[in-house]
Point group: C2
Chain length 154, copies 2
């Protein structure tokens, strides 16, 4: 998997957080995923299926980062990890994959999005079942970290 | 969402566990999902996308149930929730959706499967981002419970 598949997701999440939450997110160095690299407290995950490729995207937030993002988006201090947070992570996941889908479509890679699912729980670990590599990109926001994981098979 | 969409997944998981692990799983009454109904310790989740419909399937196992299923499948006592368990849940998720895809295809509902992802962590909760209903079906195995969640949009 090359940068052509990863970059649309990075561009998209930076755009979404800046536009929706006025949060500046800075990507770190992409890494090949090993089993228990990222532990998140809330995760949005979505499947993508097309004729040429299929894959999945996970965005996994620490509690610190998502509470700050949620507070920014809603304009009030959010302090608990409840259904509002879960719904918001679903919306972010939808917007990020929607944006990336548009960019990839212009490059000739068309796919359909499934319905995102969210996972809430302390320190859970996501793994993808694939024969191909999983790329994980850490992000810093100044108020907690989050990670995206992109997994594509050809 | 009617039984026509749910039953293929129920038939498929019962078949997979009986064939692969000699475990008899008995479905309970299907329920409409509310936010925090099922808490699992390991979950397999997969997106499905087609022209007429899109959705997702989650299979969420308690530690007790999956350790028993894994022990049965591998023919040795499995006592820890490690990568072997996560891979096995991925395989089960693949087999269940593969089986259900075949049945639904014969009814004229064709969809592509994304790559499954697995979540490992104590007591995490899955929610699906959809405008439609999410149906959750509890299963008993005699050695712990598990739940499947099916979510389809038309």
């Amino acid at each position: 998997m090359n940068a052509e598949f990863i970059n649309p997701f990075l561009v998209s999440i930076v755009n979404v957080l800046l536009t929706m939450a006025q949060v500046v997110a800075t990507p770190g160095k992409p890494l090949l995923k090993t089993f228990d690299l990222a532990k998140g407290d809330v995760t949005g995950i979505i499947g993508m299926a097309g004729e040429k490729t299929r894959g999945s995207l996970a965005i996994t937030f620490t509690e610190e980062s998502i509470l700050h993002i949620a507070s920014q988006m809603l304009g009030e201090k959010i302090e608990t990890m409840d259904e509002t947070i879960s719904d918001m992570v679903g919306e972010i996941t939808n917007m990020v994959t929607g944006g990336a889908k548009k960019i990839l479509s212009e490059k000739g890679y068309k796919f359909e999005l499934a319905i995102p699912s969210m996972i809430v729980g302390k320190n859970h670990v996501i793994s993808h079942k694939t024969n191909g590599p999983i790329v994980i990109v850490p992000f810093k926001t100044g108020n907690g970290d989050f990670f995206i994981e992109v997994c594509f098979e050809r």
